[in-house]
């Protein structure tokens, strides 16, 4: 009797364990193939992100790791009351707003030009995208030499045209504008490529129908085409916004945040705090504030773009 009871108990135990595995496999089996990816994400992205949040709450200079002290919101408080932080916010917004807006407009304009086939268009298209494939640090170096006020080729041209020597990187009124022009030169091709791909996806019958209705090209562009390509435009703008906020390489190679503080962007300030001052807690707090600024800005811009287009 007792034997049969124990057999039944053992059998039900085996069955319930088997059922448990079945249930687990059914419920979570699909996630198993994703596990390596998730693990990678946790190690490479989530952990560093959380770690940076933690160290942003510490007063910690990298030159002396033994003197790491918890400071709570100390770093954030210092930053938010620091005029140089707010200057960097303004400089960054000027750079991002002007550069990305002009890249969008120019990219779309060039894409509309290339939307129609013409002799040599493939070759020209390849030439047009060249700046985009050059490393930003190389672009910075080239710009530094080309615009050098002593021996740069641009200086030669401005002198020949009677404008004299222009110190593009040294004049406070010109430096940020010069960086914006360099960024536009390099990244307009990116906008152009996305816009061209988007335009090529627009159904031709819609455009033909609009033409039959007597719509002029400008009206077709604003009433139909822009609406149809709103998602690719939004993606392109979002990518460029994120990238423009992080601008660093060109500044490193040219102005190094100067003259004075006119090209001191958020990412440059973070570099200064983290790698010049080695104030890693302060730099982490700076990075978090920058992240918040970027996320909020990109979200608002996307919402604006998509709502604006959807309401048409």
């Amino acid at each position: 009797m007792s034997d049969s009871i124990s057999t039944i108990t053992r059998g039900s135990h085996h069955r319930s364990r088997r059922d448990g595995w079945t249930w687990f496999a059914r419920r979570y089996g699909a996630l198993l193939p994703m596990a390596p990816g998730m693990l990678f994400l946790v190690l490479m992205s989530i952990y560093p992100t959380v770690y940076s949040l933690v160290i942003s709450l510490f007063r910690w200079n990298l030159s002396d790791p033994t003197r790491m002290r918890f400071g709570g919101w100390h770093n954030y408080g210092l930053l938010l009351t620091d005029a140089t932080f707010w200057n960097a916010v303004i400089v960054t917004f000027k750079f991002v707003t002007i550069a990305v807006s002009l890249e969008l407009v120019l990219g779309l304009a060039i894409a509309l030009l290339f939307f129609q086939r013409f002799p040599g268009d493939r070759f020209l298209r390849a030439i047009l995208i060249l700046p985009m494939v050059v490393a930003p640090v190389v672009v910075g170096l080239l710009s530094r030499y080309m615009l050098n006020v002593q021996f740069g080729i641009v200086t030669f041209v401005t002198e020949a045209l009677g404008f004299g020597r222009v110190d593009f990187f040294g004049e406070p009124d010109l430096a940020l504008g010069t960086l914006i022009v360099i960024d536009i030169w390099q990244w307009t091709p990116f906008m152009f490529l996305i816009m061209l791909a988007a335009l090529q996806g627009v159904p031709e019958d819609i455009i033909e129908a609009a033409k039959v209705d007597g719509a002029r090209p400008v009206r077709i562009l604003f009433d139909h085409i822009l609406h149809l390509i709103r998602y690719p435009v939004a993606v392109a703008v979002a990518l460029r916004l994120i990238d423009a906020f992080r601008v660093y390489d060109i500044i490193f190679m040219t102005t190094r945040g100067g003259p004075i503080d006119v090209t001191q962007t958020l990412s440059w300030q973070i570099y200064d705090a983290g790698f010049k001052s080695l104030d890693i807690g302060y730099a982490a707090a700076y990075s978090w504030l920058m992240l918040i600024i970027v996320v909020v800005t990109v979200t608002l811009v996307l919402r604006l773009l998509l709502n604006e287009q959807a309401s048409r």
Binding site: D82, N148, F275, K276, S277
Partner: protein, 433 residues
């Protein structure tokens, strides 16, 4: 002692025992780093069997690399070439091996005291000096000796043209030279590092020290840049900046060198060591034309206090071959190698005895009677009164902070008083961090 250590290393037995060791070193890509990589490291391997792999890395990158490696207690690199202003930072952090045992009493007497001082923190030597180069005033001797130029100067100022001994004379001269033509070329008054970052700070410090100013109070707890001395020094510096070539607000060491090589400036405030570049016929139009004097004093008969630049060699505390790394460091700076290093163009010597060595003092420029190291007398004088950068663990951050307001002053965007007050506030804020 350094000679003894070097001799001991040459013994076959030691060589056999050490043939497995490879030291990893980072040096600045200046001539002294190149000489270590191309000449000394291969020679050391031949003599001892110890291989030294030298990477040449830019100044800021060395600082970043050291900070991150040390934070991780990473033993990847054994030896570092340091700007001396990082010694307090990394010495206080406990990341460097003490090097005091490398020096005998003879060595201590032979090395420049100031060079040893800036290699030390809290009385412990963490950086063996490799090169020193105080600011000296460079002037174009051919311009200063040209009868037409001398006559024009006399006519304009009523004074004889001679290398300036006071700040007022120097200002008068750069004003006179600025924009003049000489042998078909436009000449500007002077050149010096002026770029934002550390360049303008390094130049300005020579003015600050000359006028008796100081960047900090005695215990480095407060910035003292609004003193009458600092204001007077900065006014002189800002006035002088008007007589530099176009684009000078971005001038780095290389730009000053290029201006001197191309003969576009009459005077320059530059590191003594950099003189080798103007005597290089492959890149210079002014070979043998530059002469050197001490930086002008504020008043006649007074004494200037030029800002000191110096690079030292340190050994990482996390090195797995600390003793070997120390031996190589000591060997690099023996009496003999200090001279060899200088003769190969690797920076000005760190031992006073080298300045009397005929190998250096009698060396002449190729195809010329001009002495190759004609600056040495002036360097020796400058070393008696030179002053280092503010010597405290936050120096690198400090010069980054003051550089911005100083540039606002040099570009005329802020008054001297406002710019210095802003610097004071920013530095005090940094100290509070």
């Amino acid at each position: 002692m350094l000679v003894g250590a070097a001799a001991a290393l040459a013994l076959p037995g030691i060589s056999m025992a050490q043939d497995q060791v490879t030291l990893q070193a980072i040096f600045l890509p200046a001539t002294w780093g190149v000489v270590v990589r191309d000449v000394f490291a291969p020679q050391y391997e031949k003599e001892t069997g110890v291989k030294v792999e030298v990477q040449l890395v830019g100044r800021d990158a060395i600082h970043e690399k050291m900070a991150t490696l040390f934070a991780a207690q990473d033993p990847s690199f054994d030896i570092f070439n340091l700007d001396y202003s990082w010694i307090p930072e990394f010495g206080a952090g406990g990341h460097l091996l003490p090097l005091d045992d490398l020096l005998s009493e003879d060595d201590k007497a032979d090395f420049f005291k100031t060079a040893l001082d800036v290699g030390s923190w809290n009385g412990t030597l963490y950086g063996l000096p490799q090169t020193i180069h105080p600011h000296v005033l460079w002037y174009r001797a051919d311009l200063y000796a040209d009868p037409d130029v001398m006559a024009a100067y006399k006519a304009k100022t009523g004074s004889e043209l001679a290398p300036p001994t006071t700040m007022a004379e120097w200002l008068q001269q750069v004003e006179f030279f600025n924009g003049t033509q000489f042998e078909g070329q436009t000449i500007y008054g002077w050149a010096a590092q002026a770029a934002k970052g550390f360049g303008n700070v390094h130049t300005w410090l020579t003015f600050l020290y000359g006028y008796g100013g100081s960047a900090f109070n005695a215990d480095f707890s407060a910035s003292t840049l609004s003193t009458p001395e600092a204001i007077a020094a900065t006014k002189q510096w800002a006035e002088m900046m008007k007589y530099m070539p176009p684009g000078s607000s971005a001038f780095t060491y290389d730009d000053v060198t290029t201006s001197a090589q191309q003969g576009t400036v009459a005077t320059a405030l530059q590191w003594s060591w950099g003189a080798f570049a103007v005597d290089d016929p492959a890149s210079s139009k002014t070979v043998g034309d530059w002469q050197f004097v001490e930086v002008p004093a504020v008043e006649a008969g007074g004494q200037s206090h030029p800002h000191l630049a110096s690079w030292v060699i340190s050994v990482s505390k996390y090195s797995k071959h600390g003793d070997e790394a120390k031996k190589f460091t000591a060997w690099l700076e023996t009496k003999a190698n200090d001279v060899v290093q200088a003769s190969l163009g690797g920076g000005d010597p760190v031992r006073s005895s080298s300045y009397a060595n005929p190998t250096l003092t009698e060396a002449k420029l190729e195809g010329s009677d001009a002495l190759r190291f004609r600056r040495y007398d002036v360097v020796l004088k400058a070393m008696q009164n030179t002053k280092p950068r503010p010597f405290f663990p936050g120096e690198e951050a400090w010069e980054t902070v003051v550089s911005g307001p100083l540039q606002a002053i040099q570009l005329g965007e802020k008054s001297v008083e406002d710019g210095l007050a802003e610097s004071d506030a920013a530095v005090n804020r940094l100290l509070a961090r």
